[in-house]
Symmetry: C2
Subunit: 152 residues, 2 copies
């Protein structure tokens, strides 16, 4: 069958070095189907081609931008078909952008409150510590309202 030349193919360690992705993570991506199974040596060790490295870099870059593994899976599927319309890819990217913006907004609110909290505190006793005090107050914030997904 299509046994590619294993000479000049990369071991998993080399791929790790080349991409900065941990060995375990590479195996993990294979396990969840993001990376295709590479050829193996007779002793069952993985041997990768340059195409695997390209694909892995794509994955890493997307993950780095905060795309979920599922989103990456979609993007890879789309990338595989160059003649398809790119609406979907666009949509995924825009959804991600919206999510990132939402997280930023939420975190800015947090930062503001934390600043207030931390600023009141300069080496006194717990008894009059702003940090504890503010956390104990429930007036300002949502509980009990409904809880919502927090952006951590």
């Amino acid at each position: 069958m299509a046994t590619t030349t294993l000479e000049r193919a990369y071991s998993i360690g080399k791929v790790s070095e080349a991409t900065g992705c941990k060995v375990e993570t590479i195996r993990f991506y294979e396990q969840i189907g993001l990376l295709p199974e590479p050829e193996r040596t007779e002793g069952k060790q993985r041997r990768y081609l340059a195409s695997h490295i390209d694909r892995l870099r794509f994955i890493l870059h997307a993950r780095d931008l905060g795309f979920s593994v599922e989103a990456v899976r979609e993007l890879l599927k789309l990338a595989a078909d160059p003649s398809a319309p790119c609406e979907q890819a666009d949509e995924i990217a825009r959804a991600q952008l919206a999510a990132v913006r939402a997280k930023i907004a939420r975190l800015m609110d947090l930062a503001e409150e934390l600043e207030r909290v931390a600023d009141g505190c300069h080496g006194g006793r717990i008894a009059d510590c702003r940090v504890i005090e503010v956390l104990a107050e429930h007036g300002a914030c949502s509980h009990g309202g409904a809880r919502y997904d927090d952006g951590r």
Copy 2:
């Protein structure tokens, strides 16, 4: 022994209602030691006092501000001793603030790149889709450099 009057104590469902925290989460917080075990009815159902609700609100507020469960545990310990100096509480809050600011910075970078990515894409074909293209390029970004903790 010190069996408090269970009349006028709240069921777990009431506590959930009062705080907006799910029943399962309340039990979970007990399990990991954030909430003390409440009294039980003869039939082993939990009955909470107002103090439990206060403590739970403290926890929820802190979690809402992004403090980790471990940080919350620390804060609760500190809050229990009003005569202790408040340096530690201060430190925890400042660390949290720094973490939040770091996440914001990182997410702003992401948003910027995502904007560039999404803006180039207006209903063409995948073959010349910016989204896919940018992800496939590895020049601009860190791989392979070392990976670092991403702020998701």
